[in-house]
Symmetry: C2
């Protein structure tokens, strides 16, 4: 007799739990044993649904990109482009510990391809020619990815460590940095992201 028979494990359930768990505990806490126990199962059981850990991580990226919302068509190409990258950045906010997996594993899923297709189409319809559209697309993508990663892990170039926090730099040597120090932490990232997006699109406007 079954009380509340544990619903059978499946690839999807494993992947989704992996994402949930990683959101909660961080990537380096994600081990096969830990994930197994989270699902009420021993580590080796996971190998029935996933060939190895690397494939597990791939699958998590798949789940991540599955949540990507491709924006509906609009008459305004600029707004559509922006919406697309906003949705991309939103992924980083919703899954800050999973998003960085994109660094090591460019996706193999259709979900990412859909967004790309829509963005490229939007650019082509806006009048950009083939290669210009590709270059612009990649500029925007690099920016959006770089910015989202910076929000999660810190800006790569800025000294934000404890040892060298901007307030310990001598204002004589680093006047501009020190002048900005108070702002560095409390910037409204939504606005800042929009600023950069607008910057690039303004540059494109000149060309179309």
């Amino acid at each position: 007799m079954v009380v509340a028979g544990r619903q059978p494990l499946s690839r999807r359930r494993v992947l989704e739990e992996a994402v949930r768990f990683t959101d909660r505990e961080g990537l380096e806490a994600l081990t096969m044993r830990r994930l197994g126990s989270e699902l009420g199962v021993k580590a080796m059981s996971l190998y029935n649904h996933v060939p190895n850990k690397s494939a597990l991580l791939d699958g998590m990226v798949e789940v991540l990109l599955g949540e990507l919302e491709v924006p509906p068509e609009t008459h305004d190409w600029e707004e559509r482009i922006k919406e697309g990258y906003r949705a991309f950045r939103r992924l980083a906010h919703e899954h800050p510990n999973v998003f960085p997996l994109l660094v090591n594993r460019p996706p193999d899923t259709m979900d990412g391809a859909w967004l790309v297709e829509e963005l490229l189409q939007t650019l082509r319809r806006a009048g950009f020619e083939r290669e210009t559209a590709l270059h612009a697309f990649r500029a925007l993508s690099s920016y959006a990815f770089g910015y989202a990663m910076a929000e999660i892990r810190g800006f790569t170039l800025e000294p934000n460590g404890s040892r060298l926090g901007a307030r310990s730099l001598s204002p004589a040597e680093f006047p501009n940095l020190c002048e900005l120090a108070p702002y560095l932490e409390e910037v409204d990232h939504d606005r800042e992201f929009e600023f950069g997006l607008e910057l690039i699109i303004a540059g494109m406007r000149d060309r179309s």
Copy 2:
């Protein structure tokens, strides 16, 4: 009597060998034992010069940024900005296996701060006000970092896997992507990077 007494190990020597080794063999091949043996020493000896592996990686980032060439002043702010980010991107090319460490460990070194200071100064002198300069700086940095990472590890959004290489997408569903498929691989990245840089700077030009 000393034949060719092994020069004494030191933090610098450890870090530099770690970078050299990682350049050659990749990040996941870098283990304490392996690095030790590369230096003619057992793993535990390294702990005399580095408190743990995480600190070793931090040190490698330090070495990486130490190679950053801050461009000399010019009268042309646009050119100076470009030179700065070119130098940053060059790091990725010279140490493709070390550069990605920047993702997890924003630097604690002065070397990075120098570039930031120079870039901010250049922007201020070009007439941008404080916060605009910061936003623009971050837009450029995000772009440059995102692009460099994409060169190393693949563009995050583009389907470039084996399963889903662009040529296996149906042209009916993905006309724009398929149309571009032949170009995706053989783009001149130098040119493309410059294109994006110019795009952002053009956007800034409108504002100053």
